[in-house]
């Protein structure tokens, strides 16, 4: 066997071992940790990239862990959906890792830095595992790895409130995890298998069984809690706003997306579309809740004065889009949903990274802190504006592409009344982002400069008016925001992958 055949396991093993070695590296030399993390995440990204290429060429890859044949052994599956999610997560992880150095230096105590990188890599391991596995118990395990590392990461936030936020998330996350585990248990009880593809074959005969229905209910609620679908979102705003900036960015861009991906897997791979729409009409429920999420997320975001909280509520709305597309169960809408996983990761990632830069430079995370920054940080603020335009869904940005697919999908599903929901939320999004953009470019700064000199640690270039962030922060941020435009124009590439992924999910492939 060659190395390429083992890529599906390497993508897990590599960050996992690196996470274990990290504290040791920290003992040797603390500054090595960052380099190590960047190298590892870069390798993970490369592996994901080559997996995507393989999948696009040769189709579904199935990897048997330890050579055990499924359904007895654990199977890792890379198909078009999981390949796309792997790529998104690893790319964001890599970009944020580069960015992390300076931000972490400032926000996290020196002694904890190696620990931070170690847990960060664990989080990547978990996310990768959730995405790649074809076994639902294994999925639960990775989901818990992701969640546990997230609790830790959030608790490292600079304010004391971070501990409470983390603890809240821990309680709700554990409930969600338990629900998923109960679901897994029930399915195992009636079928005797844990392999997703196998479950798909065995389950249809048992669709009437109350054990299956219960399992399905537990899965849906548990995952909705994990991905913060509207009424189950309360853990998210605090978690996002009190976490270290780096963590906010990576969580907002990837964590909820991975949970959404798991929901897709349960809805379309383990169960079938017929089950979701006719046996238990859960899709109608999801359409309702996601519509409410889309509107409420935007409405609450309007009233926020803290920029991180504003972005957090905006995320709740955006998660609504992702779920809505899946719940409509037609090809165009699901394409929109999958592509939005990709698009939202780019735009929210870049926005949170900009906020991180502002916090790094001025120490302010309030919207009023953005006054007059257009002059002082032209590049960061340009990145923010591009991200904001994408969020609004201006044409030629990624946001427009997602909305296009979702809206056309909704109309094709005969639910054209959902289009106003999407459009109204676009307008609300425009209002709360434009508020910030206006502050950036058309308001004069007040007293920010004094605080800046206080925070200016490297002492270089603080005399001049401009105070752009260091390049390690600026480049990843700007790259993400440029990608928002690039993939908004050349949307054929992600849309092509997303649409064949949607076809596969709906068509019954594993």
């Amino acid at each position: 066997m060659t190395l390429t055949e083992h890529l599906p396991i390497l993508i897990i093993i590599l960050p996992l071992f690196a996470a274990v070695i990290m504290p040791l590296t920290g003992v040797v030399n603390r500054s090595l940790c960052w380099y190590f993390t960047v190298v590892v995440t870069f390798l993970v990204f490369l592996i994901a990239l080559s997996l995507v290429c393989n999948v696009m060429e040769a189709g579904r890859i199935s990897y048997w862990l330890g050579g055990w044949k499924p359904p007895w052994g654990i199977e890792y599956v890379v198909d078009k959906v999981s390949a796309l999610v792997l790529l998104v997560v690893s790319f964001i992880a890599f970009a944020v890792a580069i960015y992390a150095r300076r931000s972490v230096e400032k926000e996290i105590a020196k002694s904890k830095v190696p620990l931070f990188y170690s847990v960060y890599l664990l989080f990547i391991t978990g996310s990768m595992g959730v995405t790649i596995t074809g076994d639902i118990f294994n999925l639960y395990v990775f989901l818990e790895i992701t969640s546990l590392s997230l609790y830790t990461l959030i608790a490292m936030g600079p304010k004391r409130r971070a501990l409470i936020a983390s603890f809240n998330y821990l309680i709700l996350g554990t409930i969600a995890g338990t629900f998923v585990l109960i679901g897994v248990g029930y399915l195992y009880m009636v079928t005797g298998t844990l392999n997703m593809a196998d479950l798909r074959v065995l389950l249809p005969e048992l669709y009437g069984s109350s054990a299956v229905l219960t399992a399905f209910a537990f899965f849906t609620v548990g995952l909705s809690l994990k991905l913060a679908l509207f009424p189950l979102h309360i853990w998210l705003p605090n978690a996002y706003s009190y976490a270290p900036s780096v963590v906010s960015a990576v969580v907002a861009a990837t964590a909820t997306k991975v949970s959404a991906y798991v929901l897709f897997r349960i809805l379309f791979t383990v169960f079938t579309v017929e089950f979701d729409t006719s046996v238990v009409p859960v899709t109608y429920l999801l359409i309702f809740f996601s519509s409410v999420a889309i509107i409420m997320g935007s409405v609450i975001a309007l009233s926020q004065t803290n920029i991180k909280r504003m972005l957090a509520y905006s995320s709740i709305g955006q998660i609504g889009y992702i779920v809505l597309g899946a719940a409509l169960t037609n090809e165009l809408a699901l394409t929109g949903s999958i592509i939005h996983i990709f698009n939202h990761a780019l735009m929210k990632g870049s926005l949170f990274l900009v906020v991180g830069i502002v916090v790094y430079k001025t120490g302010i995370d309030d919207i009023s802190g953005f006054k007059g920054l257009g002059r002082k940080m032209p590049i960061s603020m340009a990145a923010f504006t591009l991200g904001a335009l994408s969020m609004i869904g201006a044409p030629l940005t990624v946001g427009f592409v997602s909305k296009w697919y979702l809206a056309i999908g909704a109309i094709n599903a005969g639910m054209w009344f959902l289009v106003p929901v999407i459009l109204v939320s676009s307008i609300l999004t425009a209002v709360y982002f434009w508020r910030v953009v206006e502050k950036i470019y058309f308001h004069k700064a007040d007293e920010v400069e004094e605080i800046v000199t206080e925070y200016e640690v490297d002492g270089a270039g603080c005399a001049c008016k401009r105070f752009e962030a260091p390049l390690t922060m600026l480049i990843p941020t700007f790259v993400l925001s440029v990608l928002c435009i690039l993939f908004g124009i050349a949307a054929n590439i992600p849309a092509g992958i997303a649409s064949s992924a949607a076809k596969m999910l709906l068509g019954g492939g594993g």
Binding site: A394, L396, N412, L423, Y441, I489
Partner: protein, 498 residues
């Protein structure tokens, strides 16, 4: 009709987009910066002009840039309708650039680089609207115009400017996202395409009710046309510096709006379908209402720019009204009025700006006797005003003539009374200014407080452009051939004759 494939339409758009970058880079050297503006303007006009012979010969020039996603193509097509708009906008940009330079330097505006960048960007987008080959491309540029002109409206960064700009963007962005985009979604899902096709793409695709809803959504979503009740952004946007108001709010922005309306009426729905649905008549009455009401409001305005703004609202609705007649002469009148109104209105705004720069007067009631201090400006103003009213021998007469003809063709006799009444109202809000300027005694002081005696004109950079545009308004009466030919090609194509 031949289709010629050439990147010229795209280059016309690109020329000023490139200028945006160059302007930004030369922010330290104002003269070089202004050179880029002028150079891009001339280049753009030449490119547009170079396409004219082909279009006049009945060909269209197409260029497909890229496909964003299946069904969403960015493509350009220079046809007769687009040519009308592009020629006007690109020519007037050159004139306005000179005027702008004169204006911002006399008033010592701040952030001139941003100003010229936004200007060039907005012009790119306006040409993009003119040459868009499908509704998606048009929508992109429609939104780009909004974003590019926001800095112009907010330019002064005072509280008033920011609140005006806020209203501006809420109206334009809000309605286009809520209604226009909705209509585009529905159109695409019904017709499976967004291409502009003479005769429309929606015929026979959906129920009557559905098509009516789409039409209403389109009309409500194209707020740049400033039809009531979505008009109040336009007076609010008058806080912009005058050259910006002149080009953007008399030419590029609002004309992009009515141009979009015309495109939707003729190329998405088509004359036949609208006749069948009876929606043309409804639109016509809405437009008539706006024409009359805005004129009445204009009479009451004392602020000169606001009066001009309300006049614009009313004049824009002429264009919508004329196309809604759905008769050949009506469509001709509509197409011509896009050009003719542009020349007349830009002259009026230029004059208002010149008065402000030289004498700091913004109110109509302060203009007594100003005709003697600023003879060139006020004679040009008079010509512009007469063209607006529709007095021969000025361009305005021609378009009004076709509108009357169109109304008769379409057998809407009561509407002729409306047209006559609106002409009287036009006279009622313009002629008092002309009268005051030339026949009332001056009772004001100049900037230093003394009584004005003798000629005190604005800088030549401002006076020459406004004299030029007023001559343009005059020339359009005597030589409307090119535009008339273009309008005829439009009519022939959309009524099935071509």
């Amino acid at each position: 009709m031949n289709i010629i494939y050439s990147p010229l339409p795209f280059m016309a758009i690109l020329s000023s987009a490139v200028a945006v970058v160059l302007i930004a880079l030369s922010y330290k050297r104002p003269n070089l910066r202004e050179f880029w503006t002028i150079a891009a303007g001339v280049a753009k006009f030449c490119i547009v002009l170079s396409m004219l012979p082909e279009v006049l010969a009945g060909h269209v020039i197409e260029f497909s840039l890229l496909e964003v996603a299946p069904g969403l193509e960015i493509a350009f097509r220079a046809d007769a309708m687009g040519m009308l708009f592009a020629l006007t906008a690109s020519f007037l940009w050159i004139v306005t650039s000179f005027y702008s330079i004169g204006y911002v330097r006399s008033t010592h505006e701040k952030k001139q680089t941003r100003y010229f960048m936004a200007f060039a960007g907005a012009l790119s987008a306006a040409i993009g609207v003119a040459f868009a080959a499908n509704m998606f491309t048009l929508f992109i540029f429609y939104e780009v115009i909004t974003f590019c002109t926001f800095p112009l409206v907010a330019h002064k960064e005072t509280k008033e400017a920011i609140s005006g700009a806020r209203r501006y963007i809420i109206y334009l962005l809000g309605t286009s996202l809520a209604f226009q985009l909705f209509a585009i979604f529905l159109t695409y899902s019904l017709a499976g395409t967004l291409d502009f096709v003479p005769g429309g793409i929606l015929a026979g695709t959906g129920s009557k009710a559905m098509l009516t809803i789409i039409f209403i959504l389109f009309m409500a979503g194209i707020t740049k046309a400033a039809m009531m009740p979505f008009h109040s952004w336009l007076p609010a946007a008058m806080v912009a510096p005058t050259p910006a108001s002149a080009l953007l709010h008399a030419v590029a922005v609002v004309k992009a709006g009515v141009f979009t309306v015309v495109k939707v009426v003729l190329f998405i729905f088509g004359v036949d379908l609208l006749k069948e649905l009876g929606l043309g008549t409804v639109l016509m009455y809405f437009a008539s209402f706006t024409i009359i009401t805005a004129s009445i409001v204009a009479v009451k305005q004392d602020n000169l720019k606001r009066r001009l703004a309300y006049s614009t609202i009313s004049q824009l609705s002429y264009i919508v009204f004329a196309v809604a007649l759905l008769s050949p002469s009506g469509i001709t009148g509509s197409a011509l009025h896009i050009v003719i109104h542009a020349f007349g209105k830009i002259t009026l705004f230029f004059a208002a700006g010149a008065i402000y720069v030289r004498h700091h007067k913004t109110k109509v009631s302060e203009l007594d006797g100003i005709g003697y201090a600023m003879p060139f400006t006020m004679i040009a103003f008079t010509l512009g005003a007469l063209s607006m009213i529709g007095v021969p021998p000025l361009g305005g007469f021609i378009s009004k003539w076709y509108m009357f003809l169109g109304a008769i063709e379409a057998k809407h006799i009561p509407i002729i009374i409306m047209l006559a009444a609106s002409t009287v109202l036009n006279a009622a809000y313009f002629l008092p200014i002309v009268y005051a300027a030339f026949f009332k005694k001056a009772k004001y002081g100049d900037a230093s407080g003394g009584i004005v005696t003798g000629v005190q004109e604005a800088p030549g950079m401002m006076v020459v452009p406004l004299v030029l545009t007023s001559i343009g308004a005059l020339a359009l009466f005597f030589a409307p051939t090119i535009f008339l030919d273009l309008a005829r090609i439009v009519v022939a194509s959309v009524t099935g004759g071509g």
